[in-house]
Structures are given as structure tokens and as C-alpha cells.
Symmetry: C2
Subunit: 458 residues, 2 copies
């Protein structure tokens, strides 16, 4: 593995060009009309994997957006690593806040700027180029399979069925994913937990049409005011969620692990500066790290109703809606949360008002033990290239499929991510530092190495 740094140095410009080619394909999965574009992204990755040395690389159609499957089998007696990633990206809105075009990647201040620069095209490409190196230099110590989907940003639903139907094809020893963050290259961290998610859209309907706010104001329940009441009532003044039963399944975390997690040297002042707020706020009696990693949340992701253009229109809107995401922790089940939320809303019984709840998607939280060989192989790989032992982190984000992988395929998932919290994923001006991109490519072959060594000793 010692030749990896030199290999990167020699090919770094090409690696970047190849990544940029993928980024330029605006594979927004939320846009249902985007079929041609999604297919173009699939073909790009399929071809790249073939050129990098896969024996087999195919686009597999699903009930949703297609999946790319690829493999290189060295010998059936060797361990197999299954690499997972996603080629879909979040919508680029709000467009006017981007400093450069979201789908025209550029390098500024040693960072790649574009939608997908980090999440997940940049990080997925680290895996592809590490694989290319291992094949090119004949150093691949084990078998490898690739499973790359196009619905991660909209709930990973087609891949569930695909996994269930292809358990044998996907059989492996561990799943390797680069779609998470490290604190920094100097203070490496490894994500050992992910929150789950339950995402809803609620619509509050009153009169059958917009009404004049003078001729009717004061006599009916205004759906926009009612929506505000409902949302406001979901969290109390101590930051606790009020839906009955919401916390029932939340697993207590042991004091030792909580201490270890809280040892990560997060610079809270820098974090506040970066996002431009003067103060944090969250659930009473928990630290910022606790609130992100071990506590569930409820947030409005979007809200709309009535007249939202320039000027003053004096109406009572006929309806108002909100998108609400809840981040879940072990062992909250999205289906149970859905039931609790629906019961709560539908039990409100507000005169003249009806409430519709649509469950858009959900996923379970995930944890992998710190002392497992999967995690320790990653810690050793990072120590090799970054010079320091990583600390554990429970990330606030969700990769719903991770929990499902363990359930369906019976393997642990290693989250070897190189993104930074400041990469603005899901936001305008998403970016990914070049250093992180190249360090990722350098570290991944070492994971192959240490993981295979561990397995051989078992």
C-alpha cells in the first residue's frame, strides 16, 4: 500500500476531471422527470468502474431510480468488501445563493464547489479511485463489490427490495461507505452511529377557497394560524418533543460512551461562526454533542400557505402545509413514530379544520460497536495516513439504508467518511476540500489491507 501516495500525485488531475464529469450530470432524485439524467449518471459510473478494473459492472433497473452493481472477485476464499455509495444529489435550491453554478464544478481556495462535491459524488469517487489503484498496482488483497444507488436523498426505497432480492449477489463480510464527516484531517473522527429519520408532509385545510381576510377574518379558523399552532405545540419550552410516546423507545446510552463522544474537540465558537448564529439552542440538560448524536429531533424543513409573492394580499388561505423531519435514535422505529404522530394530529379535532398527514420516508438509526474489527481496521487505516487515532462520533445525519443493510444482508457497516461539517451539503455552495478528497483515496486501500489481515487471523 506504500505506493498509494505516489499514485495519487501522478493521477490527481485526471481523478478530478473524472469526478467533475460526474458532478456535471444534475442527478437530482427528488425530480420525478429526471429519468434521462439519472441514467446518464449511472452509465458514467458503470463505465468508470469498468475502466478501473471491475470484472463486471452493470446498471440494474429497479422500481425507482437504477442501481449500479460492480465486482472484482480475486478468490472465493478471500474476504469481500461491499462498497456502497449514491449518485443522486439534493435539489440545488435556493439557486440565487450559489456563488457559482451548482452543476459546474470549480476549485476555489483548494475546495471543489458544486452540488454533490461532497455528498456523495466526491466521497464515492474516493472509493472508485482507491479501487483503481489497488487493481492497477495489483495490490487488491480481497474481493470487492460495488452497490451504488440513486435514491439516498429521497429515502432509499428501491434499494431495499433490490437487497432483499439479491442477498447472494451482495454477500460479503463488511460494507464500506464514504458518506459521512470527520472532524478534521488533524483531529480525525470515525462515525459509529447515525440517526434514523421520519419525514412527513402535513396539510391543514379550512375553507374550500382563499377568503377575504376582512369579510371572514375573526370568524373561522385560519389554516395558516392553525398550522403554526400545531407546529408550535410539537416542542415545549425545554426543547422536548411533546408527541405522546415519542421518547418511549429511546435507548439510554452508557456514561462511558457518552463521555468518549463528548471528548471530541468540537470548536463550538467556530461552528457558530460558520453557520452565523449567536447561540445554540436545544433540549435542556444535554450537550451540543448529545443533542446531535444521541437525542431525537423535530424540525420544519419547509412551510408554505397563502400569498407569498410581493406586496400585500389580504386573504385567509384555504390551506397551509409543512414538511417536517424527525431525526431518530436507537431504538426508535419510524413506523411507530408515524403512528404516534398521526394519532396525535388526527386527535386534535379543531373546528372547521381537517389535517392530512403524508409519511414521505423513514429509516432506522444505526450503531456499530467501537471495539469491532470493522471499526478498528478503519481506525488503523486513518492512523496510517493521518498520524492520529480517531475518536468515535455519533452523527446527527441519517443514511437510512445503513440500518437496513445490517437487517437484510447481516453485515456491519463501516462509515469511513472524509467530509467536513463546513462542506455545506444540502445547502448552496456545497464544497469538498481537495485535501480531504485525496486523503480519502489514500486511506481506503489501508482499510482493505487491515481488514483483510484481521479476517485472516480469525
Amino acid at each position: 500500500m506504500d505506493t498509494i501516495a505516489g499514485y495519487i500525485e501522478k493521477h490527481k488531475e485526471r481523478f478530478l476531471d473524472e469526478l467533475f464529469g460526474l458532478i456535471r450530470i444534475p442527478s437530482v432524485s427528488a425530480d420525478k422527470e429526471n429519468g434521462h439524467v439519472m441514467m446518464a449518471a449511472c452509465e458514467y459510473i458503470r463505465d468508470n468502474l469498468l475502466k478501473s478494473g471491475a470484472d463486471r459492472s452493470e446498471i440494474m433497473l429497479t422500481q425507482g431510480w437504477p442501481i449500479i452493481y460492480a465486482e472484482k472477485i480475486v478468490h472465493t476464499s478471500l474476504p469481500t468488501i461491499l462498497v456502497y455509495g449514491h449518485y443522486d444529489v439534493q435539489p440545488p435550491d435556493p439557486l440565487d445563493e450559489w456563488e457559482s453554478e451548482p452543476f459546474v464544478p470549480v476549485v476555489r481556495d483548494e475546495k471543489i464547489y458544486a452540488r454533490g462535491a461532497d455528498d456523495d459524488k466526491g466521497q464515492l469517487f474516493m472509493q472508485l479511485k482507491a479501487f483503481e489503484y489497488l487493481v492497477a498496482e495489483q495490490k487488491l488483497p480481497c474481493n470487492v463489490k460495488f452497490l451504488i444507488e440513486g435514491e439516498e436523498e429521497i429515502g432509499s426505497s428501491a434499494i431495499i427490495t433490490f437487497c432483499k432480492q439479491n442477498v447472494r449477489l451482495l454477500s460479503a463480510d463488511v460494507i464500506l461507505v464514504s458518506d459521512t464527516t470527520i472532524l478534521s484531517l488533524n483531529n480525525p473522527t470515525l462515525t459509529v452511529g447515525l440517526r434514523g429519520i421520519a419525514y412527513f408532509e402535513i396539510t391543514v385545510t379550512g375553507p374550500k377557497r382563499d377568503l377575504h381576510s376582512g369579510l371572514y377574518g375573526g370568524t373561522i379558523h385560519n389554516p395558516a394560524n392553525v398550522l403554526a399552532d400545531i407546529i408550535s405545540g410539537l416542542i415545549d419550552k425545554d426543547g422536548r418533543i411533546t408527541i405522546p410516546g415519542f421518547y418511549d423507545s429511546v435507548k439510554e446510552i452508557d456514561t462511558e460512551e457518552r463521555t468518549l463522544l463528548n471528548n471530541v474537540p468540537i470548536d463550538e465558537e467556530a461552528l457558530k461562526n460558520n453557520i452565523g448564529i449567536s447561540d445554540f439552542f436545544g433540549e435542556k440538560d444535554f450537550s451540543v454533542i448529545d443533542r446531535l448524536g444521541i437525542r431525537p429531533t423535530l424540525d420544519v424543513c419547509g412551510i408554505w400557505g397563502g400569498y407569498i409573492n410581493e406586496g400585500a394580499k389580504t386573504i385567509l388561505p384555504a390551506k397551509a402545509s409543512a414538511k417536517i423531519s424527525m431525526r431518530l435514535v436507537p431504538d426508535q422505529d419510524p413506523g411507530e413514530i408515524e403512528n404516534s404522530f398521526k394519532s396525535y394530529l388526527l386527535g386534535l379535532n379543531i373546528p372547521g379544520i381537517s389535517i392530512a398527514v403524508n409519511f414521505l420516508h423513514g429509516g432506522n438509526a444505526y450503531v456499530v460497536p467501537w471495539h469491532s474489527c470493522e471499526v478498528q481496521a478503519a481506525v488503523m487505516a486513518m492512523e496510517k495516513t493521518l498520524g492520529k487515532k480517531a475518536l468515535p462520533v455519533r452523527s446527527g445525519g441519517s443514511i437510512p439504508i445503513v440500518a437496513d443493510f445490517e437487517k437484510i444482508l447481516g453485515m456491519k457497516v463501516v462509515l469511513l467518511g472524509f467530509g467536513l461539517e463546513t462542506d455545506a451539503i444540502h445547502s448552496p455552495n456545497e464544497n469538498f476540500p481537495l485535501n480531504n478528497f485525496y486523503k480519502g483515496i489514500e486511506t481506503i486501500p489501508w482499510f482493505y489491507h487491515f481488514y483483510t489481515e484481521f479476517k485472516k487471523k480469525m
Copy 2:
């Protein structure tokens, strides 16, 4: 005046064609780019008044949209009626709920359907055609002046300055306005009070960009959740507005007038059916008529923030906004309400959140005494053409300029409107029954007659 019905019968098709010509000009005042269209509407009305017999009819430029001034002076010894109306209309959104194009007037089921069919192009045209009749048949008993503005739907600001600068030009004895409703042609009512208004836009800002709801959720105040908290906190569970000082200037109404107002035979079931709600809701201990006429309100007219397109985007929005209208009653002052609201909001001090408040427009409430000669001339005119004595109504809507007219020009305003509550003004499928249009034209000359008779006896 006895020839008016015959005159209408003879010219009714032409009256409609002329009105349709005006409706086809989409004079939405909220659209700041709409200058050419607003001017076209002015020219149309100016020319129509000239053709109808005005001695003078001119477009007067202001700091905002232009005003049309016209007059016909019979003799300086005679009383003068100043007719007020507005040529601007509300935006037609939401467009997809219109059954026919908003600016292509059509007659269905004996009603004109179009934006402005009632408010105020249809009602204004009743005044123009009644005037045409009086001139054509040489029955004009007094002098008449017209003052027609283009900013009624956005707060009537330029006309205030115009009135202040043109007190002599506008001198008259009474102002006559057709921009309100009657209960029905069979149960006529006359509006003797209008609510005032204070219209605000508030914007709640948190982080400087949208954030990933997983990576930050639970650690900061989400501006959309905070906006919901703020809105929810503005009204208590009894429907009372909580802004400190909000009710301080509200004038008690005497029991006799309250009883008279509550005698209007409103069909509450029909009203609920028409707007499609199962139950009314409003301030505790007040009737529906009270809540509309004598009590102030607070309503969200629009709310927006974060991701509002299809699918699920998992963000914490950087900001969220709402448009809020308050309907005011005598003697609430919009300026004082603005101060109370701003003090309240800016005093909230929510960690990591800033709140901006923009006062878009305001206007005072208005009342005219039931036993005044102005009101009684209108009651007699309606009795002549509708066969029944009208009951008084305090309307929930606002015509902010009405209170200002009394203040600046020193005249009472008579609100001789023929719209129906079911006309869906400010909503999709705005309409105006043909019968009401023609009965309006028939009634107005009688007002000229009785009012002039009253003044001659004084």
C-alpha cells in the same frame, strides 16, 4: 328618475361590453412592473367618463399609480357628490383554481366571472353608467366629481397626498362609494362601518444559510419553528390577541346598535356551506356578526420558508416569513398597533434568532351615523328600487381611504355597495351577479335625487 329602468334595459349589452373592456386590463397594483397596464386602465376610464358626459376627465400622476379625476359642474349653488372608486385589483393567484381565465370576463349562471368583476371594476362601473344616464336624460340634479385611484388593494398611499394637495379641487358635500356588499337584493343592508387594517411582513432569520437537518437538527433554533411559535403566541385559546395594548383603544359599542346589527338575517348555515367549513371559530363571547364588525382580528395571509417543492429536502431553513393582517375597529390607530407589535416582537429575544418587521400598509376604521342625511338618502334610494328598508351593517373589510377622506376632506362617506358575500372577491373565481350590477345602476340616480332634496331643505 323614473326612466332609469328603461334606459338600462335599452343599453344593458353595451354597459357589459364596456365593463368587460376594463376587466380585460389586468391592473394588479401589487405588481411593481405593471406601469403600462395601470396606465391603460386609467385611459380607459378617463375616456369612458368623457363619453358619458364629464366636462373634464384627466389622469393625474402621483408618487404611486395614477389617479383619474373627472367632474361635471351643473351650478355652483347645487350640492356636489364626490364619487370614489378604484381601478386596481388583487393578484389573481392561485391561478390553477380559476374555472375561466381571471382577466377574460365571461357570464355563467347570470354572473360575471373575472378578477375585478365585483371589486371594484364592476361596482365602479355602476357609478359610471348611472352618471351617463343622468347626463344623457338631462336629470343630473347636482354637481358630480370622480376620484378613482389605483392603489386601494395595496394601501391607498398616493391618494392621501393627492387629497391633501387638492382639497379645493375635491371639495364636495358627500363622498359616494360602491365597493361594499349588501346581504341580498331581497334583504338589503347598508354598510355604516368598516374595519381598519394594519398589514405586516415578518421575517425570522437564524443561520446564514440553510443547514442539513441531521447535522445541525437539535442544536439551533429553527427559524420556521420559531415563526410558528411566534404566530401561535399571538392569539390565545379564547381567540384573543395577546399583543400587549392591542385592545386598549377599542371603543365599546352601545347595546342598541349591537342589537340592530345582530338583527341582520345572516344565514350562518348557508355561509358555512358556501365557504366549505363545518364550524365557525372566533373570539369567545362574541357573535359571528360581532366578530366581523366590531372586533379586531389577526390573521396569517401568507407563510413561507425552506423547501416547498415536491419531495423531501432535509434542511433547517435559514429564514422563514409571514404576511400578517390585522383588521382594526374604532378607535384603534394603525400606527399605535405597529408600535405595539414591533415592541412585542423585538422584545422576544430568542437565542440565535433575529426578527425583522415590515409595516406594509395601514388604515383607520370608519363609522357613519345611521340617522345622518347621507345614510338616510341611501336607505330611501334602496327602498325605491328594492322595495325594502335596509338594515345597518358593520363590514369586516377595510377601505382604508374612507377614514382618511373624512379626516382630510371633512365629508361623510356613503357606502352604497351591491356586492354579495359570495362574490369571492380576492379569491379565484371572483364574480358579480348581473342583477346586482343593473340594480346598482338603477339605485344610484335615486341617491343623487334624495340627497339633493335633503340638502335643499337644509
